[in-house]
């Protein structure tokens, strides 16, 4: 199942949030060989369920359209990718996005990614958890696509309209 930009853009536009601007932050250099988006997609690929194919469009919309302080987020993104690549190099000997899915999962499972603290002002890894992993997971589990997999196409955090009220099942 490919995540598309369509449903996200529709909803965010309705909410008055511009989603087309600001992509420069995700295409600039980060100090590694990859563009930030490439790293985020490789990260989302192991965070999201196996049936889901994350796309740059989906990530761009949710990761960027929902961040109002663009400059500070770009800084966190750049620093976070650097930390992620360092962890990947220590664990698997290469930049994160160059690793296989199994290797990327191994990086997460053998470090404080996910299991450690997630804090906006914490350690380097805590900030990776907060600004990269949690942003990606929030984007997915508050989207119609993520919600649908658990039986809810308008999960909390998503502006999918109001008043949905099916009839009682007898």
């Amino acid at each position: 199942m490919e995540l598309t930009r369509r449903d996200a853009v529709t909803a965010l536009t309705a909410a008055g949030i511009t989603t087309t601007a600001g992509c420069a932050g995700l295409t600039g250099e980060t100090g590694s060989d990859a563009e930030p988006m490439e790293v985020l997609v490789s990260l989302a690929d192991v965070l999201y369920p196996s049936d889901i194919e994350p796309t740059p469009e989906f990530i761009e919309t949710f990761m960027y359209g929902r961040i109002t302080d663009e400059e500070s987020y770009r800084e966190e993104l750049t620093a976070g990718i650097e930390t992620l690549n360092q962890l990947a190099a220590d664990e698997q000997g290469g930049a994160f996005h160059t690793l296989s899915a199994d290797q990327r999962r191994s990086v997460i499972e053998n470090t404080d990614l996910r299991t450690g603290p997630s804090e906006p002002d914490g350690s380097d890894v805590a900030r990776v958890n907060y600004y990269l992993l949690d942003e990606l997971l929030f984007a997915f589990y508050s989207s119609p696509t993520g919600g649908e997999l658990i039986g809810n196409t308008n999960p909390r955090g998503f502006p999918g309209g109001f008043g949905y009220s099916p009839s009682l099942e007898q």
Binding site: A11, A14, A15, G16, I17, V46, L47, Y48, P49, S50, R66, I67, T68, D69, R105, I108, R114, T115, S118, E119, P120, D121, Y130, D134, L137, F138, F140, Y141, S142, G146, G147, L149, I150, G151, N152, T153, N154, P155, R156, G157, F158, P159, G160, G161, F162, G163, Y164, S165, P166, S167, L168
Partner: protein
């Protein structure tokens, strides 16, 4: 943003306004209504607000903070830290900063927007039941102002709602439809002779001059779309009528003239550490039930050694709240469609607002609202887990979707020893002693909670559900409850209204008995608490006070 430090430039003009007719202290619902009502009639109004003017674009980020398990509720609107210090000397902690917001819009920025009126009996507790005290005004006195407030903020409600007090005017908008979980409660209620009905909500369903609800499902504590009413709307309307708002300008004290009969100036600080003095003909203290008594205590003088407007000795006393309780159940194998509906609340139960035996009330009124978002959101569950990929999906899928819940606010009786005082051993960022909260809700509230918990549990069990949580602040160890389960909601009293200057702080027009040009507009003037969410009543009282102030200024 994790602090409440100033984010605006130091060059913002925060100097006093020359020739102001009215100075309003506080830009929450009470201050906003007074300011707008007076500004539109041509009075020069200045509002001094302790907190900032929030960027509306940042609400999406605040919403994300709300759903992120890392953040506590007070962080969502930047509450906490030295600016917002307080003490609690009562029997349990009181999460004050999780229940209020300082800034333009005030606590309505994070409220749930449930807006029932008080009942007729709430104004007449002493004459009807021989307990507490009557208000010096009746429901009938406030009724036109209720209708006005409902029109101003845009309420979606059902004119035929059972149990509610009489109304002559229709709600401005049709009621929100019942959610799926409301329908489950309604169906179970029919078996138990319990009526489940829609609740009046200050949420725009499309007819008001603000964005329509877009269904984020996070009304409490952030509405990114602006479909939920918040008082920054009427602050903006007041500004359009010529009012001036000075934000990040906490008032340090009110000074009076030589005879002690009138306030002459509000002394406030600005982020550049300057001290300013705002003069006006009339002052309205609308800083909420925690901060208003504190400001009056801090404004003590030779004429008022026990605090400004406190010749009665009742300042800070008879403080109340609505002790909360809640029931959460799980319906095995059922999809309760939690989270899908949008507004957090759409239905409620007011059948137990009136007492079982009106001649011998044993318990507080019970105001129940069925919840469309019982339990954590899917995103919150995902962030709380350590898992990834399919394992994470399976975890979230297993946890989510079968919860159902009902929350309630309960009446407590006013007591002299429940009070807001001053803790002189602790100071805020300006060196001022902080407010101290000393409150014990008592047996009347406990019995009300027990009634509500029993009703909620019976309903969920009737559905075939398992009750997994049924607790109130008076039925469980308070400090062991979750942050949302603890008290502190709906602060009321402390500057109560009355005809007798020896037993109350303000008169029926909300003017202080002691000072000719000082009004108080806040939940602090409530004489009894009722159980209804109080903000609509606060706004109605504010509109009424504005009429009195207008008449006085014209004279």
């Amino acid at each position: 943003m994790s602090t409440n430090e100033s984010t605006t430039t130091m060059t913002t003009d925060r100097t006093p306004v020359d020739g102001a007719d009215v100075c309003v202290i506080g830009a929450g619902p009470a201050g906003a209504m007074v300011a707008y009502s007076l500004a539109k009639r041509g009075h020069d109004v200045v509002i001094l607000e302790a907190g900032p003017r929030f960027d509306k674009e940042a609400r999406v980020d605040r919403m994300k903070d709300q759903l992120h398990p890392t953040h506590s509720d007070n962080e969502i609107w930047d509450m906490g830290g030295e600016r917002d210090e307080y003490s609690t000397s009562g029997e349990h902690s009181w999460p004050v900063n999780q229940r209020r917001v300082k800034g333009v819009g005030g606590t309505s920025l994070h409220w749930g927007s449930v807006v029932p009126r008080l009942y007729e009996k709430d104004f007449e507790m002493q004459s009807r039941h021989g307990i507490a005290r009557d208000w010096p005004i009746s429901y009938e006195d406030l009724r036109p102002y209720y209708a006005q407030a409902e029109q101003e903020i845009g309420v979606a409600g059902d004119d035929e709602t059972p149990f509610f007090p009489p109304r002559e005017e229709s709600y401005p908008m049709d009621p929100l439809p019942l959610s799926y979980s409301d329908k489950l409660f309604k169906q179970a209620g029919e078996e138990l002779d319990i009526t489940v009905h829609s609740m009046p909500m200050a949420i725009n369903t499309g007819e008001y001059d603000r964005n329509e609800c877009q269904g984020y499902g996070t009304c409490q504590f952030v509405c990114p779309s602006g479909g939920k009413y918040s008082a920054d709307i009427h602050v903006r309307k007041a500004e359009q009528q010529g009012a001036t708002v000075i934000d990040e300008a906490p008032v340090q004290r009110l000074n009076h003239g030589p005879a002690g009969e009138e306030i002459t100036e509000a002394v406030y600080k600005t982020p550049d550490c300057e001290t300013h003095r705002q003069t006006a003909d009339t002052f309205v203290a609308a800083a909420g039930a925690f901060e208003t008594p504190r400001l009056l205590f801090l404004s003590e003088s030779a004429e008022y050694p026990n605090g400004l407007a406190n010749s009665s000795g009742t300042l800070g006393k008879y403080f109340m709240g609505h002790p909360p309780a809640g029931v959460i159940g799980i319906l095995p194998g059922e999809n309760t469609h939690q989270d899908e509906y949008g507004p957090v609340v759409s239905g409620g139960i007011h059948q137990f607002y009136e007492y079982d035996n009106p001649d011998d009330p044993q318990r507080g009124s019970v105001n129940m609202f069925t919840i469309n978002v019982a339990g954590p959101s899917p995103a919150t569950m995902a962030l709380q887990s350590d898992a990834i990929g399919d394992d994470l999906l399976n975890q979230v899928d297993a946890q989510f979707g079968s919860t159902i819940g009902v929350n309630m606010s309960i009446e407590m009786l006013p007591r002299e020893d429940n009070q807001i005082g001053i803790d002189r051993s602790t100071t805020d960022n300006h060196g001022n002693p902080v407010p101290d909260v000393d409150i014990t809700p008592g047996e009347f509230a406990r019995k009300g909670q027990e009634k509500g918990l029993q009703v909620g549990s019976n309903l969920i069990e009737e559905m075939g559900g398992n009750v997994v949580y049924a607790k109130g602040t008076q039925t469980a160890e308070h400090d062991g409850l979750t942050p949302l389960g603890k008290g502190g909601y709906h602060p009321l009293g402390g500057t109560r209204m009355g005809d007798d200057p020896t037993e109350s702080v303000v008169d029926p027009t909300l003017k202080t008995h002691d000072l000719d040009n000082l009004y108080i507009s806040s939940g602090g003037v409530f004489v009894t608490s009722g159980a209804s969410n109080p903000t609509l009543t606060i706004m109605a009282l504010s509109l009424k006070a504005a009429d009195h102030i207008h008449e006085e200024l014209q004279a």
